[in-house]
C-alpha cells in the first residue's frame, strides 16, 4: 500500500515534469510565462533596492524593466529575484532567471568558463575604498597591515589580494557573504576599510549612521566593467539584452527622451527613424520583437542618461558623476553601436 503511494507520487511527478514544454529559446519561455525573471542585487541603493513604497527601484532594475518593455510593452512584467554574489551565476546557469543584471564585472574567466556571456557594459566602475575620515588614510597603500571588509566571491576580493601582494603590502580580508553585514561590520570597527566597486562604496557611505565621518579614498585600483549577463547558446536572447542597452545609449546620443519620444516619431533624422522603427525600419523584428521595441523602452523607462541621472547621478541622493559613463562624444566611453 505505502509502496504504491510512494511509487505513484514518483510516477506522477515524473510524468508532470516530463510533460512540460521543453524549449531552448529563452524568448519563447519568457513569452509563454508572461513575465521576465530578472536577477538583481539583494539591496544596493542606486542599483537595486526595494523603496519605501515597496517597489523595486534602481539602475539595474530599470534595465530589467527596459527589457520587459521591449518584449511585453509592459515594464511591470518583471519578477525580480534578489541574489547574493555567491548565487548569481548558478541562478543564471540553472535557468532560475532569464537575465542577470547585478553589478557583475566582465572578466575573461567568467566569459570563458561559466557557460554565460556578457551582453555589454552598462556601468564602467572601479574598485574603491571607504575609510573612517579620522584614521588618516590618504591612499590605499596606507592600509598596509590593516583589516579590510569585502564581499565573498567578487572580483573585488581577488583585486584586493593582487593589489596588496604586488606591492609587498600585507592585509587581512574579512570576507562576508552579505553586503549589509560587511558594511555593518566595518561600521562597528571590525575593519579599517570597506572595499567594493566605487559606486557601491558611495552607496554604502550613504547608509551609514554618520556619513560625514567616512570618506572614499581618491584612488581606484581596478577596472570593473559591469554588465548584464545571459546564458550562451541563445543568440536571439543575447541580442535582445545587448540591443536594449545600445538602444538606450543611442537614444541619449540622438536626444530622444521620455518626454519628447512622441514628437521624435515624426523626426526626419534617419538614425532616429531607425531607432524608433519609423519609415519602414524593421529592426525589432530581426531580434524577435516588434519594430517599436525601442520606442516603447524610451516611452516607459527613458534613455540611458535619464536612467543614470534618476538612480545614480544628479537626480539621486548619490550624485555620482557620469565620468567614464558619459557618452563617447561627451568625454566618456559609453558608445552605442549603430542601429542599421
Amino acid at each position: 500500500m505505502k509502496t504504491a503511494v510512494v511509487a505513484a507520487i514518483i510516477g506522477v511527478t515524473a510524468g508532470l515534469a516530463a510533460a512540460a514544454p521543453a524549449s531552448a529559446a529563452t524568448l519563447d519561455d519568457v513569452r509563454a510565462r508572461g513575465y521576465l525573471q530578472c536577477g538583481v542585487h539583494t539591496g544596493l541603493f542606486g542599483f537595486a533596492e526595494v523603496d519605501n513604497n515597496g517597489e523595486w527601484a534602481g539602475f539595474d532594475v530599470d534595465y530589467c524593466r527596459a527589457i520587459a518593455s521591449a518584449i511585453f510593452d509592459d515594464p511591470t512584467a518583471v519578477r525580480f529575484t534578489p541574489l547574493s554574489a555567491a548565487e548569481r551565476f548558478t541562478a543564471l546557469q540553472s535557468g532560475a532567471i532569464d537575465v542577470l543584471v547585478r553589478i557583475t564585472t566582465w572578466t575573461m574567466t567568467r566569459d570563458a568558463s561559466l557557460g554565460l556571456t556578457f551582453a555589454g557594459v552598462n556601468y564602467y566602475d572601479g574598485q574603491g575604498f571607504l575609510v573612517p575620515a579620522d584614521a588618516g588614510f590618504e591612499t590605499a597603500a596606507d592600509l598596509d597591515g590593516g583589516t579590510i571588509c569585502v564581499q565573498t566571491g567578487t572580483t573585488t576580493e581577488l583585486n584586493l589580494a593582487d593589489y596588496f601582494n604586488s606591492r609587498g603590502l600585507t592585509f587581512t580580508a574579512i570576507a562576508v557573504a552579505d553586503r549589509a553585514e560587511a558594511i555593518s561590520a566595518f561600521e562597528a570597527g571590525r575593519c579599517d576599510a570597506f572595499t567594493a566597486d566605487a559606486s557601491n562604496v558611495y552607496s554604502a557611505r550613504m547608509t551609514l549612521a554618520t556619513p560625514a565621518n567616512y570618506e572614499v579614498l581618491p584612488e581606484v585600483i581596478s577596472k570593473e566593467p559591469l554588465g548584464p549577463m545571459v546564458r550562451i547558446g541563445d543568440p536571439q536572447w543575447l541580442n535582445i539584452v545587448r540591443w536594449t542597452h545600445y538602444a538606450l545609449l543611442n537614444a541619449e546620443e540622438l536626444g530622444v527622451t521620455q518626454a519628447n519620444v512622441a514628437e521624435m516619431l515624426a523626426s526626419p533624422n534617419p538614425e532616429i527613424q531607425r531607432l524608433l522603427g519609423q519609415n519602414g525600419a524593421a529592426f525589432g523584428e530581426m531580434i524577435g520583437l516588434t519594430n517599436d521595441w525601442a520606442a516603447r523602452i524610451i516611452t516607459q523607462i527613458g534613455n540611458y542618461g535619464e536612467i543614470f541621472d534618476r538612480n545614480l547621478g544628479a537626480g539621486s541622493p548619490l550624485g555620482i558623476e557620469r565620468g567614464l559613463n558619459a557618452l563617447w562624444n561627451a568625454g566618456g566611453i559609453q558608445y552605442g553601436m549603430p542601429i542599421r
Partner: protein
C-alpha cells in the same frame, strides 16, 4: 448511666497550633530556597549581583531611553531602542511588499486560520474530525486563492511581493502541514518489512538529516532548474518552502518512528488477529497510539521548523528577518540603535510564537499523562 453534663466530650477539634516560626512565612521560604547552605548562599549572592549588573541597563535600553515615536533617525540617537523605526516600518514588517489595498486578504486568511486552529487546540470542543478536514483541505485552498488571487477574480499578487511576518507564517504553516504526513509515510517506510522500501526511506531520512539546511536551500533556490527539463521552473518562494518541508519531514519521520517503537508488539498482533488490513491496522490501532506518545516531539519539531524559516533570508527572500534587515538599510533611519532594535524585535516575535507552541505541548503532555493515571 448517662454521661450527663459532667463528661468532657470534645465536639470540635482543637484549632491547630501555628507552625513554628521558621518553617513558614517569607523568611523561612528565603532560608529554605536561597540560603540553605553556605554554597547556596554564595550562589544566590552571585546570581543577585549578576542580575543587578545586567537587568537595569537592559530595562533602560528597552524602555527608559527608547524612542517611541518619530519620523526619522533623529529621534534615535540617544542610545536607547528605536521603537519608532518599528512603528514606521510595521506594514513592511507584517506584509512585505504586498499591495497596500490588498492587505485585507492576508488579515482575512489569518482570521480563517485562527478560526480553524483555536477549536482544534482546545480539547473540549467537539467535531475535531471536521475541524481537521477544514484546516488541511478547505483552508489551504481558500488561502491559496485569496493570497495569490488565482481563480477568484481578485488581482493577482505574485509571490515576489510577499514578505515579512506573513511569509514566515506561510512558510511555517506549509512546512508543518506537509512535513507531518510525509514524515509519517517515511517512518512507516523505514519500519517496513520490505527491504527496498526500508532502504530507500532510510537513505532519504539520513541524507536530509546529515546536510545543513543552508546548503539545501541554496540548491533549491538556484540549482533546482538544472535537475529539471529545460524551461521548467517554479516559484522561488515555493521551492524554498517545499525544501524546508521536506527537510523537516526527515526529522518528523524519526520522531514518529520513536512513537511506532513505543507501541507494544501485542497491539500489532492483536489487530492482525482481528483480520485488519495493514492500512486499517495503522489507521485504527497503531497510529493513534504512536502519535499520541510523541506529540511533544512533534511540537518540538514544529518549533525547530518555525525557527529555521529564518534561514530563507540567506537565499535573499524577505521573511520577517530578511524584511527587518532590508528595512534597516534605509538611509532615513541609519543609526546605531536601529539594527539592534530590529534584531530584538525579531527575537521577541519568534519567541512569542515558539514559546506559545512549547507551552501548548506541555499542556497536552500533562493532559495525556493525567489520562494515563486515571485509566
Amino acid at each position: 448511666m448517662a454521661l450527663g453534663d459532667h463528661a468532657f466530650v470534645r465536639r470540635a477539634p482543637v484549632a491547630p497550633r501555628p507552625p513554628p516560626r521558621g518553617v513558614v512565612g517569607p523568611l523561612a521560604w528565603l532560608r529554605n530556597n536561597l540560603f540553605s547552605s553556605p554554597a547556596n548562599t554564595a550562589t544566590t549572592i552571585l546570581i543577585a549581583l549578576f542580575l543587578a549588573w545586567t537587568v537595569p541597563p537592559l530595562i533602560r535600553w528597552l524602555f527608559i531611553d527608547a524612542a517611541w515615536t518619530g519620523d526619522d533617525r533623529s529621534v534615535c540617537l540617544d542610545g536607547g531602542a528605536c521603537w519608532a523605526f518599528i512603528g514606521a516600518k510595521i506594514n513592511l514588517i507584517l506584509y512585505g511588499q504586498y499591495p497596500p489595498d490588498e492587505r485585507w486578504r492576508i488579515v482575512l486568511v489569518a482570521a480563517l486560520f485562527v478560526a480553524g486552529l483555536v477549536p482544534l487546540a482546545i480539547p473540549r470542543v467537539p467535531g475535531k474530525r471536521w475541524n481537521v478536514v477544514y484546516l488541511l483541505v478547505v483552508f489551504p485552498v481558500i488561502a491559496f486563492m485569496l493570497l495569490t488571487g488565482i481563480g477568484i477574480g481578485l488581482d493577482k499578487v505574485p509571490t515576489d511581493r510577499w514578505g515579512g511576518l506573513f511569509v514566515t507564517l506561510v512558510a511555517a504553516v506549509m512546512g508543518i502541514v506537509i512535513s507531518l504526513p510525509l514524515g509519517i509515510l517515511l517512518a512507516l517506510g523505514r519500519r517496513s518489512k520490505l527491504p527496498v522500501v526500508r532502504w530507500l526511506s532510510t537513505a532519504f531520512i539520513e541524507f536530509w538529516r546529515g546536510v545543513p539546511l543552508v546548503a539545501v536551500l541554496f540548491m533549491a533556490s538556484v540549482m533546482l532548474p538544472i535537475f529539471l527539463p529545460p524551461g521548467v521552473t517554479f516559484d522561488k518562494l515555493l521551492r524554498a518552502m517545499l525544501c524546508i518541508a521536506i527537510f523537516y519531514s526527515a526529522y518528523m519521520a524519526e520522531v514518529v518512528r520513536g512513537g511506532l517503537q513505543a507501541v507494544p508488539k501485542g497491539q500489532y498482533e492483536g489487530s492482525m488477529a482481528l483480520g485488519l488490513s495493514w492500512f486499517q491496522q495503522m489507521r485504527l490501532v497503531v497510529m493513534p497510539q504512536a502519535l499520541t506518545v510523541v506529540i511533544p516531539g512533534i511540537v518540538n519539531t514544529f518549533i525547530a521548523l518555525f525557527k529555521d524559516t529564518s534561514l530563507i533570508m540567506v537565499i535573499g527572500l524577505f521573511d520577517l528577518l530578511g524584511m527587518l534587515k532590508s528595512a534597516t538599510n534605509d538611509s532615513d533611519w541609519a543609526s546605531p540603535s536601529v539594527p539592534a532594535t530590529a534584531y530584538v524585535f525579531a527575537g521577541i516575535i519568534y519567541w512569542v510564537f515558539c514559546f506559545g507552541l512549547s507551552r501548548y505541548s506541555v499542556f497536552i503532555e500533562r493532559r495525556l499523562s493525567r489520562g494515563k493515571l486515571h485509566r
